[in-house]
């Protein structure tokens, strides 16, 4: 970390900063730059809050030389993390993992029809929401525990590991017993109490990017989970909030190669939530694969028009089957499997 000190700062003032930093265990050197002083801080600077340094009136700027995350940092851990979900491996050169299913679990009949069909089309995992975070208190909030039960039954019947969103630390026991991948939704990406709790399980965690969070904040949230003891984190890009209103969010595919550079974690893409429009899902899914995604999460419904939530972004069973055909072509073109 390099701290730039304003011109004409009295030495006595500067000394206060240096004493504080040395008191925290850092090694300090100084050098002059034009009429300013540069303070170099050596040690594990991940524990320093930039704002605590900027509180010194004579500090002009703070520049980090190393990233504020460690456990998920590619510079430190060169090997790709591969997450094992009941024998399905996600990450590195493993087959691209396709997760599909309805936004919300609605009924046993519908869930079974979807599960049977996506399995036949080639999906490897089944998604479905039971505890739904909804903007409106008057909207369908999911079936809750009953939804988890239906997912568990579908899991047993079709041998598809299941992915479902956990929305509070109090649900962890239920999810650990029944769900194969615990999804953290975009709105909870910085629900740090939840992240800390998830760090204490050993279950795979699917960490969605918050719709207004930077890549660094996302990796810091992953760091919460990994540093608390759970290395099984899969990142999921699902679009960011921008000024553009035509799509629900703007899918940011450049994060795929960026995450590969900066982190050792696997990354998948959810084009359904990103675009909010099923007509855009196919092209964005294909693009995500060739950009290097380790998996996809796709919303599928047997009857999107009658879905209780997010019908506009759900593929029909037939369209999902067609999507898989295209995705296999893409995987082949980059010499990967699905």
């Amino acid at each position: 970390m390099i701290i730039t000190i304003k011109a004409k700062t009295p030495k006595s003032e500067l000394k206060k900063l240096i004493i504080k930093l040395e008191g925290l265990g850092f090694n300090i050197t100084k050098n002059d730059h034009a009429n300013k002083v540069m303070v170099n801080v050596f040690g594990d600077t991940t524990t320093i809050d930039d704002n605590a340094i900027l509180a010194f009136l004579f500090v002009e700027s703070v520049t980090r030389i190393s990233a504020p995350y460690k456990r998920v940092n590619r510079d430190i851990f060169k090997e790709d993390v591969i997450v094992n979900v009941n024998g399905i491996l996600i990450g590195n050169k493993q087959p691209i993992a396709i997760i599909a299913g309805p936004c919300s679990v609605e009924s046993e009949e519908s869930l079974n029809m979807i599960a049977a069909s996506i399995k036949k089309s080639g999906a490897k995992l089944l998604r479905g929401g039971a505890f739904k975070p909804r903007t409106s208190p008057y909207a369908f909030q999911g079936l809750g525990v009953a939804g988890i039960d239906l997912l568990k039954k579908a899991n047993q019947k079709y041998n598809l590991p299941i992915v479902s969103e956990i929305s509070a630390a109090s649900q962890i026991e239920l999810f650990e017993a029944n769900v194969d991948i615990l999804q953290v939704g975009a709105r909870n990406m910085q629900n740090f109490e939840l992240l800390k709790a998830l760090g204490k399980t050993s279950k795979p965690i699917l960490l969605k990017r918050g719709f207004a969070n930077t890549i660094e904040e996302w990796l810091m949230s992953a760091e919460y989970i990994v540093s608390a003891g759970n290395p099984n984190v899969i990142l999921c890009e699902r679009g960011i909030r921008t000024f553009e209103t035509y799509t629900r969010n703007t899918l940011d595919l450049s994060v795929i190669p960026i995450i590969k550079q900066k982190s050792n974690l696997p990354i998948i893409v959810d084009p359904s939530h990103a675009t909010g429009d099923w007509r855009l899902v196919e092209k964005m899914a294909m693009a995500a694969i060739v950009a290097g995604a380790d998996g996809l999460m796709i919303e599928v419904h047997d009857n999107p028009e009658m879905a209780l939530s997010d019908g506009a972004q759900s593929l029909t069973l037939e369209n999902f089957d067609k999507l898989m055909v295209e995705c296999r072509k893409m995987a082949k073109a980059i010499e990967r499997e699905i």
Copy 2:
């Protein structure tokens, strides 16, 4: 709600949509517009998910005529909500409520020094964080229960009601017993499990705007709390995330008159978190008052340079005292009191 149907849609298809809506209890009329059909939906449309309508392939657009919130809607409730915090009234023409204190509670000595000083300067409530949401797992996370204890003691000693952030539903019992205003942080504005739980208390809730949430989403989160039974909600603008990097966030003061038009809830402003820079706090606090804010929340520290968090945005005790002088001039200029 008005639903526009694409040209050349077969009547049999359109009928499916109408049957669905009538099945949900709505009254439906139709009229033609150029070569398109408009479907008018009458009834309480707050329960309809736009995306469930857009799932019908022949639907072109969905337009809401009335807002998706009811309990916090000025059109329905004309009278301003006034929140009573141990005798301090917030909202309507009541004196502008000044909340001040450190970002985090750090020690009894420091907290007492701050409390005594801000009280003398004119603050009416004391803020302080005990459970701190931090981007980094390695940053100071607050004193927890011990922090709440120190706040409670300061409350008793200085007769200043206290405001502190609650970060999980599991903390409600502790907060109900000790804290006067329960603050929901920006990152938890859409933590719906927390909002539902807060709807069951009768304590005043300070609901911060999420840094990437629209005004409508903010009011929907307030609606969660109010519709669950707790009418004592105070909104707090604290800046939104934009492309500008000079300030931490961009303070959006236009929300003050907008909230006054659209909702009956009181609104206060936090210029410290919005700007992230103490040198900007005074001007933004003054501007917030004349724009109609019902209160301010200001970070103050006896020694910002030694603060464990957010020192860069904290005012010294002296600067807070000067700020109050300016704020009183502003209140007088608009014929309000502080």
Copy 3:
């Protein structure tokens, strides 16, 4: 267009609006919706300014049923526009057009080396800036007319049509005589004086999306050119400004299928400017192709480290050659050619 009128509006007030609209030649009908009146406006509503309607105090909202653009509207013109650049066709099922070259033209030697190399790798057009829009007045502003001369020479020597940015209407004569595709830069997307002037030439125009412009605004800028008489417009996505700071801009690939739905114009992608980082260009170029782009524009330099501008986003000649190998695989996978 549908105009919603607030409840309790006196008929005499509403009449003023209707007289204004009828005076402008529109047909008007009314119908009631709950306690509100809906005014339906029939005719060519592209000439109406929403804000002129919202000026009536009793108007609650204005909803457009049809898009505000006509000449570039897929609903009206079903056939894809194919732009002919000296025999190279761009759009529809034509081969994917690869445009490559340096950010700025720097010297004859360097330009020739680049042109020879990209031609061998498979590029079909040569790009190079002569009039450079730079944020700083102290940065290299391009070679100007001398740069255009060097491009023209390279064109003749290597038989590569050339693409260069025009920054003012006063340059049109020079560009018409020497340049094959006139590029409008992102910062000039709403320089309407320039757009009007370009509508009077018959040269192909490459219209970059403004870094903070919506899809609708982009199509309206294309409409300026086409409605003024020049149908040869190619759209170019180059990233939008968001809160994320890791990349220069956020590449929005979902616009490719969206533009194909809404407009009949061809669309290409510039991953170099979008990301600002050559290490991300390959993956984003591959993704753009499979998402349906009609072409790519790639920055290439024989010695990026010595480039006078934008070296960080330029590929070396070798890396561009490798990129072309990958792009051909992608084109093959979607049954297109390069």
Copy 4:
């Protein structure tokens, strides 16, 4: 400028960078930081393009110690610029300059009625658009030269200096002869050809902030004008584009104290364009004054409902008169005049 070099970079590689920089006339020193090398660059680094440095593969980051602008830099020029517009002084402790008038000049009768009324209410300058930048080619584009003539007549009749937007360098002669302040619109803030041309006049320039431009980019555009020879630049904040759709743009009032810190130029605020809603103008105007604005630009129309553009954001003559009463109270509260 400090350049961080990646660990394990061969000395021979680093030497290439140093030779390049020394060749450009800079003095270079190096020091080690943990396992990395820091290269310090001394001299006028405003001429260096960050991207040209980042093109060296072994460069990790580039940090600027001094701002990239000089002529408009408060660190270098401590004294406030005061712009003289025909005897009306803008900036420093001068009276707050109120500019008012219609979005577009529409007719002599209407313009005269507005001019007479705003003058009586206390405005010091008259604004009016003659060359209107409009998103749609089908919208009213302004009266052009005839509009400038009407402004000139109103100027002579009411002794109000006039402000009008210039949209191309080709209009400079016309504007120099007739207009007192030449306004650069938000969409042209980075039309560098126009900025360079304006740097050659001596007329006051009102430089609006682009709706998606940072403060630094804004000051760089001012630097274009000032470095080309025209010191008479007034900045104008008019809102930035964000995800919020309730207002047309988000007014960023924190730029007022920021500009005062970083630059010596005067700054005014346009709450009409920022909000797009006349009902928000009063509060935002009042807030701008107490935040330190040197002036305001307000849209006023004698009959907003019949305005040809932007009626929704225009105040009536009566409401403008009331606004002036409130603004005077605000000015008084901060010990300034209007």
